[in-house]
């Protein structure tokens, strides 16, 4: 039956192929060409190193994404392990809360950070009552950090919990019976066992943070993270070639990170910060 089916399979695949080539492959190739069409030609792809403003923006975005990734991994592993190993009343609700924000768009998360640490935010209110001074950090790098953390925790926690469920408890018991202290058990047994999950979810978290536009758009009109730099180059400076080459570089970085993640976990999670 196989050979007779090929023409029909071809017909079934045709719509998606046409759509994809017309609206993705061709535009992306064009974007790469436009990226090289600036005054400096192909070397404009090195603008990220040559132009101080672009370089700083890239560096800031990298550092922020790495910081968010590590924090999210530590928080989610601690909470995830606890949730997998303990049963307590209300656990279902806790689980729902931890995974709900998965589909919140970045703009909304930006606004939630404003509710927390903005000019009329909760933290400002509390610090004013306690210290007499209002703490407002929503619109700074720290605000971005918390925003990115907000959308990272749910993504990471799901992967970690899936990996933690498969942990072999007998290894830990053996270590314990041989007198290993708890921190050695964590370092020598739990972390190595969770490693694929940690790398996979860490890569998702990193890629999402690198490409996050919505959150930055709401919070950080004057902080140069890469997506904001691309946006400003395109809309305010009309530097289309610059914006294009930066997008291609950013796209490559996030794609590589997600490729690593997928080959380890087989998951698809949206980059939509």
């Amino acid at each position: 039956m196989k050979y007779y089916d090929y023409p029909k399979l071809f017909v079934l695949a045709l719509p998606v192929a046409i759509f994809f080539v017309t609206f993705f492959i061709v535009p992306m190739v064009q974007l790469a060409i436009v990226g090289a069409s600036g005054d400096s030609g192909v070397s404009s792809y090195f603008t990220i190193v040559n132009t101080p403003r672009h370089f700083e923006s890239m560096l800031a975005t990298l550092l922020l994404s790495i910081a968010v990734t590590f924090t999210a991994l530590v928080i989610s592993t601690t909470a995830g392990l606890f949730l997998v190993r303990n049963i307590f009343p209300g656990k279902e609700i806790v689980l729902s809360i931890l995974t709900f924000p998965l589909a919140f768009p970045g703009v909304v998360i930006g606004f939630l950070i404003i509710m927390l640490a903005g000019r009329q935010g909760l933290i400002g209110l509390v610090t004013k009552a306690l210290l007499g001074e209002k703490t407002v950090f929503a619109y700074s790098m720290l605000g971005l950090f918390f925003g990115y953390l907000y959308f990272s925790i749910p993504r990471v926690i799901l992967t970690i919990m899936a990996a933690a469920e498969k942990l072999d408890k007998s290894l830990e018991e053996a270590a314990k019976s041989l007198g290993a202290p708890p921190f050695r058990i964590v370092i020598d047994i739990i972390i190595p066992a969770l490693k694929p999950g940690l790398i996979a979810s860490g890569a998702i978290c990193f890629a999402t943070s690198m490409g996050a536009f919505g959150t930055a758009f709401t919070l950080a009109t004057n902080i140069d993270v890469l997506p904001m730099t691309i946006y400003t180059e395109f809309t305010l400076n009309a530097n289309i070639a610059g914006a294009a080459s930066l997008s291609i570089v950013l796209g490559l970085v996030t794609w590589i990170a997600l490729f690593i993640s997928r080959s380890l976990s087989g998951q698809t999670i949206a980059v939509s910060g």
Binding site: D5, V16, F24, M28, V94, P105, V107, V108, G211, W255
Partner: protein
């Protein structure tokens, strides 16, 4: 430290993480139904802001729903056959094609939007219609439909079922509609929920692709965050939550059934 203490410390930590995620949501809901959030809840509750939002922004809500429905139909029509073809051919070619279809999720929406504008921005009528946004949404959501259906198909023995049916004389299209489609139903359902939810909330692509006459809900949200008072922005966010939470609940129920 004994076991009990460790348990309590971990529980407190987990609850703190939960409160970081849920408190701002509560605050935003509260602000949306409070007369004056700066004064506090003692100023009284009101639906005034919600009605103001419906008055100002109802167009964005309808447009978002319309785009989400259109996007769902499109991903069903082109995504299910694509998943079936991938499941049928299998092997390295299938992996490669799958990897390519997933690209729009791995590349930031900003880059894709830029690419679409550079190449199709000149077609004025297309650029200023909601189809332009729809194209972006289909690109971004298609991978979820394809992978969801593909995962279900790969875990069933549809090939043997098809062979059986074929030996009894069932044509290709009969098999497709009576074996493949019914067998991929759980994947289609999960994929549909995902596509719809993502389309309703999509901002990164949409912000670049929208025009003043084609504003979607998240675009309106960003607009209100930048220019409206906190109560209006909150009421708008509240409406968004009301729309999206049933979808999220549905997804959680589906994934729990799977486990």
């Amino acid at each position: 430290m004994n076991k009990k203490q460790i348990f309590v410390i971990q529980l407190i930590f987990t609850l703190l993480v939960c409160s970081f995620l849920i408190i701002p949501v509560f605050l935003s809901v509260l602000a949306g139904i409070t007369q004056n959030f700066f004064v506090g809840i003692k100023s009284g509750f009101t639906l005034r802001w919600v009605f103001e939002v419906l008055d100002l922004y109802s167009g964005t809500i309808y447009l978002s729903l319309m785009i989400a429905i259109a996007c769902l139909i499109a991903t069903l029509v082109i995504g299910i056959p694509a998943a079936y073809v991938l499941a049928r051919i299998g092997g390295r070619i299938s992996r490669f094609i799958e990897e390519t279809i997933i690209l729009p999720v791995a590349v930031p929406g900003l880059a894709i939007a830029l690419a679409l504008i550079i190449i199709y921005g000149g077609f004025r009528d297309f650029r200023s219609s909601w189809y332009f946004i729809l194209v972006g949404h289909i690109l971004f959501t298609l991978p979820f439909m394809v992978r969801s259906v593909l995962a279900v198909l790969s875990s069933t023995n549809f090939k043997e079922l098809e062979e059986g049916a074929a030996s009894l004389g069932a044509s290709f299209w009969t098999r497709f509609f009576t074996i493949v489609l019914p067998n991929s139903k759980p994947g289609i359902l999960a994929g549909s929920l995902m596509v719809f939810t993502l389309s309703i909330g999509e901002f990164n692509l949409t912000w670049m692709l929208h025009t003043p006459v084609t504003k979607t809900l998240p675009v309106g949200l960003a607009d209100s965050y930048a220019s409206m008072r906190l109560e209006v922005a909150s009421a708008y966010t509240l409406i968004f939550f009301i729309m999206i939470i049933p979808l999220l609940l549905g997804m959680q129920i589906l994934s729990r059934e799977k486990n």
